[in-house]
């Protein structure tokens, strides 16, 4: 009796649904295996909130990527203007320094759809668009760097154990003991002053901000990954890989790493919104990005004008809140999709 020869013929008697039992049938071939990742994505696709949030995030991403094109299409730019050309420069009267066109005192001006900033006369829309780019660029790069560092540290310390683990854990704990905000406040101006020559000031500032955020962002990933590796290491499939004679590098990257997708995706989903918020927060305190457009900086500038010109504050504020909210809710949905036990 050979399987190939007799396989299909004997099927009928065994099942009430013989057509599905046939291993060679069309259905069986179409239903190819679903990895846990695919299952999670499938769950995510059915989640309406997740889809909405993803659309919002994609919108901001597009704005950030095509900032130049969009600004050109609206005919706005970051260029500094002579303030008194667009602002009311009469210092003796009330409404000092408010724009001559558009909000808050004049009707909508299509040349400046978001209005103009008081005191400087800068275009709000241009600042908003480039602020979005700054925000996502910094948050994205910081997330990337801290994930890579965190994953490597977590993998190594979890898998090797012993002295290496002790040293890496001490470093992780050390960085966790440093209050992030204070450290960022202290370090960022120093780095900027140190390396910021006048022509590349803006790039240096953004770079140093990314560095600082990454410097204080990797520990949670490292801890998460380490914990996960410690529990995975005791799973029998890792023993099986050892018994098969798999080299350690292969075990780390082929056996362990694929099982870390969930914690990695989860920590990215937590980091991205946190970094967007942190970037804006530092700028709000006057210590983050000051050389180029940033939502946080605009918010700080707009607070004194709140009573007369609330729109000036609302624009960047809604930008930050919408982006952070969408990222957070999406992250929450992602976490649910990967771990159905924590379902709300």
């Amino acid at each position: 009796m050979s399987a190939q020869a007799t396989g299909p013929e004997t099927l009928g008697s065994l099942s009430d649904e013989p057509e599905i039992n046939d291993p060679n049938s069309k259905q069986a071939k179409e239903i190819s295996g679903k990895s846990p990742m695919q299952i999670a994505l499938g769950r995510l696709r059915k989640d309406k909130i997740a889809v909405t949030c993803a659309i919002i995030v994609i919108f901001f991403l597009l704005v950030a990527i095509f900032a130049d094109l969009i600004a050109k299409a609206f005919g706005v730019s970051l260029d500094t203007v002579t303030a008194c050309e667009v602002l009311e420069c009469n210092f003796a009267e009330p409404g000092v320094g408010y724009p001559k066109t558009g909000p808050p005192f004049y009707p909508f001006d299509p040349a400046h759809p978001f209005g103009l900033a008081p005191r400087t006369g800068a275009d709000n829309l241009a600042h908003w668009i480039y602020g979005c780019r700054t925000s996502l660029m910094i948050a994205g790069a910081a997330t990337l760097f801290s994930s890579v560092v965190g994953i490597v540290v977590g993998l190594v310390s979890g898998f090797t154990g012993g002295v290496v683990d002790k040293i890496l854990s001490f470093i992780t704990d050390f960085f966790l003991t440093i209050p992030f905000l204070l450290a960022a406040l202290t370090i960022s101006p120093i780095i900027i002053d140190r390396f910021g020559t006048s022509d590349s000031y803006e790039t240096i500032q953004i770079g140093s901000l990314i560095l600082i955020l990454s410097l204080f962002g990797w520990m949670t990933v490292a801890r998460l990954i380490r914990g996960e590796v410690l529990s995975l290491r005791e799973r029998e499939f890792i023993h099986a890989a050892r018994v098969l004679g798999m080299p350690t590098r292969r075990i780390l990257f082929k056996e362990l790493l694929p099982n870390l997708t969930a914690p990695i995706v989860i920590s990215i989903s937590l980091m991205l919104p946190a970094f967007v918020a942190a970037e804006a927060g530092l700028a709000f305190l006057g210590i983050g990005v000051t050389g180029s457009a940033s939502w946080g900086q605009t918010i700080a500038n707009a607070v004194p004008y709140w009573s007369n010109y609330p729109l000036y504050l609302w624009e960047p504020l809604i930008g930050v809140v919408a982006l952070v909210l969408a990222l957070n809710l999406l992250g929450d949905a992602v976490r649910d999709a990967f771990d159905p036990k924590t379902r709300r």
């Binding site: 440093i178 204070l182 202290t186 120093i190 210590i287 918010i299 809140v321 957070n328």
Partner: protein, 336 residues
């Protein structure tokens, strides 16, 4: 347990040492001249290069860093003398964290003055969000799956997803600027010993902002933790004993559910105590957070390093306290 605490304290001291050294080095090799700040602040004279050089010399910036760091450490342990300008000499008893370049006041004294403000903000806020968040979370967990639960959880999720400082900022803008509600309009720190009513009304808005925001996150933590515990086998055992629902929930489930919440709380409370920078900045409360922000902007090295050390010390201690509490709450945990 005692050995454990000692061990942790020792490693905490090492961490503090490393942090103070890093701050010191950062400023030492940092680009901006700390002497410039103190020279500019010396309002009686214009800062000439010659005067700057005097300040450099006096502050020890012409000596190697380890020499100065040694002096600093000696000051912390035994106190020392500090000289500003050519004439003024100050005696700085231990623990000497130096004199502020800006105000020329001893840093330790200034810090002591500002601590009550920060502690008032942190303790009041934490009290509010715990007393609100945990009961709401427990109630939601008991009604899990119902419409109320879902509505509550999703609305709290939305609120807690907003960056805290924007939440606080909007609270302040609306309540004091737009609506000018009297109770909230006079924010700031007034010592409780002088005028408790004024202290209360000055703190109230900050507490509200911290409490309302923190309550949403703590509701979610405690709800999640509670839901998990309610699925445990020993809860089924408790029910099988014939215990009342309330006994099951409040005696058997709540104790286990609180353990992870307390862990998170301990660490976050440490961060709060270490300096509520945003809260103090937005509500104009003169505490450690605001102080450190100003010091950074002014390159006031002694103040920055003092706040960094203070913050780290608070975090280390709160971590140890959390671990000890954990081992008391959960008899399975043995500290080693």
């Amino acid at each position: 347990m005692f050995a454990y605490v000692v061990k942790r304290l020792l490693s905490g001291v090492v961490v503090l040492f490393l942090i103070s050294m890093s701050v010191f080095l950062l400023f030492w090799y940092g680009p901006s001249e700390p002497a410039q700040t103190i020279c500019d602040n010396d309002t009686s004279n214009r800062c000439t290069p010659a005067r700057l050089e005097v300040f450099r010399e006096n502050l020890g910036f012409n000596n190697p860093w380890y020499e100065e760091y040694g002096k600093f450490m000696k000051g912390v342990v035994a106190g020392r003398e500090i000289q500003f300008g050519s004439t003024t000499k100050f005696d700085c008893p231990a623990p000497c964290l130096g004199y502020s370049y800006r105000t020329k006041a001893p840093v330790f004294e200034e810090m002591k003055q500002r601590m009550p403000a920060t502690f008032s903000v942190a303790i009041g806020g934490a009290f509010l969000y715990l007393t609100l968040g945990i009961p709401i979370g427990v109630a939601a967990a008991r009604r899990r799956g119902t419409l109320t639960d879902k509505a509550l959880v999703s609305s709290f999720l939305v609120i807690s997803s907003i960056p805290y400082y924007l939440f606080a900022l909007l609270t302040w803008l609306f309540l004091t600027i737009s609506w000018e509600i009297p109770l909230f309009s006079d924010t700031g720190y007034f010592p409780i010993t002088e005028n408790p009513a004024k202290w209360f009304s000055g703190m109230f808005l900050a507490w509200m902002a911290l409490g309302a925001f923190g309550c949403t996150t703590y509701t979610r933590y405690s709800r999640g933790s509670m839901v998990e515990v309610l699925n445990e086998d020993y809860i089924r055992t408790a029910k099988a004993k014939g215990l009342r629902d309330n006994t099951v929930v409040y005696k058997h489930a709540l104790r286990s559910a609180l353990v992870p919440v307390i862990t998170i709380f301990g660490i976050e409370f440490g961060t709060l105590l270490a300096g509520t920078i945003f809260t103090e900045t937005i509500f104009d409360i003169d505490g450690i957070g605001l102080w450190s922000l100003q010091a950074v902007a002014q390159r006031d090295l002694p103040v920055v390093s003092a706040t960094a050390l203070f913050a780290a010390a608070v975090l280390i201690i709160s971590n140890i306290v959390v671990d000890v509490i954990y081992s008391v709450l959960d008899p399975r945990v043995r500290l080693s």
